[in-house]
């Protein structure tokens, strides 16, 4: 087995006195697309925010690229190749599309490469190219999701974490976003995908974890999970 890019051991996170994440273990290999599914309030978003450094764990360890992230601030993790597309997208509404993408490259200083990556993003998302001078707040939900993803990619991440990319989007747009996720994964980037839409997520992922009230209750190959009775019953409405 290859050395994992990310390895989480016994991670615990608490808000005030309430434990939202109760000692989970997970790992992601380089180039792997892993999904974390579960119902609302299971602790998925909390897990991602903690991995990104926005929340501090109350226990456990996060190893990324062989390094303990305990004392690494959120903004430093970006330069190490960790990127999070947050729930609700978090685009800068009063910045233009182009400025949002430039913010994505904030931690980089290779000017020429940044310009090349910008061009690549506009190729990947032609809709954004048309709207590059528009304020991001004026875009539709789907377009804002594209901005959020393109912006995260501008940091040249090695591990891209996506929190509910399908939330609030029309079915056609959801399909498009998932196609893009597949394309990005094909480039060899590691992806941790958090989704409520379990079926879609398990269809694109290699492996999956099922999270329930702060703990991981099931894990395995995406195909197996998709076929398992427990998942079928709880999340796929079968």
């Amino acid at each position: 087995m290859t050395k994992p890019l990310l390895e989480v051991r016994d991670l615990q996170v608490a808000y005030g006195g309430i434990k939202a994440v109760k000692g989970i273990n997970l790992h992601i290999a380089p180039g792997e697309l892993v999904t974390l599914i579960g119902s609302n309030g299971a602790g998925k978003t909390t897990t991602l925010k903690t991995l990104a450094g926005l929340l501090h764990p109350s226990g456990g360890q996060i190893q990324y690229d062989g390094r303990n992230l305990h004392n690494v601030a959120a903004h430093q993790r970006v330069a190490m190749g960790l990127a999070l597309v947050p729930e609700g997208r978090g685009v800068f509404a009063r910045l233009t599309v182009q400025e949002n993408l430039q913010m994505g490259a904030y931690s980089r200083d290779d000017k020429n490469e940044i310009a090349a990556d910008l061009a690549r993003m506009y190729e990947l998302f032609p809709r954004l190219a048309e709207r590059r001078e528009q304020l991001a707040g004026t875009l539709s939900g789907g377009e804002q999701q594209m901005v959020a993803m393109a912006r995260a990619l501008m940091s040249r991440p090695r591990l891209l974490m996506l929190d509910e990319p399908s939330m609030g989007l029309a079915p056609l747009m959801v399909q498009k976003i998932f196609e893009t996720i597949r394309d990005i994964a094909a480039l060899g980037m590691s992806i941790l995908l958090v989704e409520q839409n379990a079926r879609l997520a398990l269809q694109v992922a290699v492996r999956g974890y099922v999270m329930e009230s702060g703990a991981i209750t099931l894990s395995g190959e995406a195909g197996e999970l998709l076929g398992s009775d427990a998942v079928q019953h709880a999340y796929l409405g079968a």
Partner: protein, 307 residues
Amino acid sequence: MEILLQQIINGLVQGSVYALVALGYTMVYGILGLINFAHGEVVMIGAMLALSSLTTLLGMGIPPVLALLLSIVLAMLGCMALGYSIERIAYRPLRHAPRLAPLITAIGVSIVLQNLAMMIWGREYHSFPQLIASHPHTFGGAIINDIQAIIFILALAIMAGLMVVVHRTRLGRAMRAVAENQHAAQLMGVDINRVISITFMLGSALAAIAGLMVSANYGLAHYYMGFLLGLKAFTAAVLGGIGNLRGAMLGGLLLGLIESLGAGYIGDFTGGFLGSNYQDVFAFFVLIAVLVFRPSGLLGERLAERA
């Protein structure tokens, strides 16, 4: 007619100084949602530092223009260090406290700085040395002297420069991003503490220049000058829409004009009952009127959401 023109000139000159100070209030508010009531004292410290270094440098026989430039730089550096320290010591520990706590702290910082200045520079008025023979120029019957012209042009140039920084540079982009969404900015790799410190330092540098301008214009500086000036600049920021940079500039210039025209004509309106010594009243009429009729200010939109 000459009087009207003269009042407009005086108003614009004074207003451009208000605008520089108002920018400091509005930048900090935009990024932290905090009204830094100590900002007026930073202006005062800037004036005092500039004056002290100017007097010292002139005493050492350094030519006036060079001494002036050096003292501007020294005052700016001093105020930047002061602004940085205020944020670091007084506001950062309260970043997640209820809104009232930093507000009260700001008033505390303001009192500390005033008393500190009184201990260092005393209670007396310090007069600003006559450096350049300030020639009066007349046009249309009104007079504008060199110092006024320099203040106005320099203030406009600095404001234009600030707009370029905020809208055209990587740092400015980061400032706007932090102002809008601190978490998302962190996810872009922005060290928000650093951006907040820089914002305080930028505002304080503007305050230092404004302090020097005020004392050059009136020929005086003293430890209490920051209080009223700060309140008026805050009024200007609210008038323009606090948190909005263009609003601060517009508000500053408008407030200067309102004050100047008000003071110029109050005697006529009241049949000589009230004189131009009531000048300060206008700023606060404006503050009350804005808060009652248009609390989001002229160019502001989002006050309700923030406050």
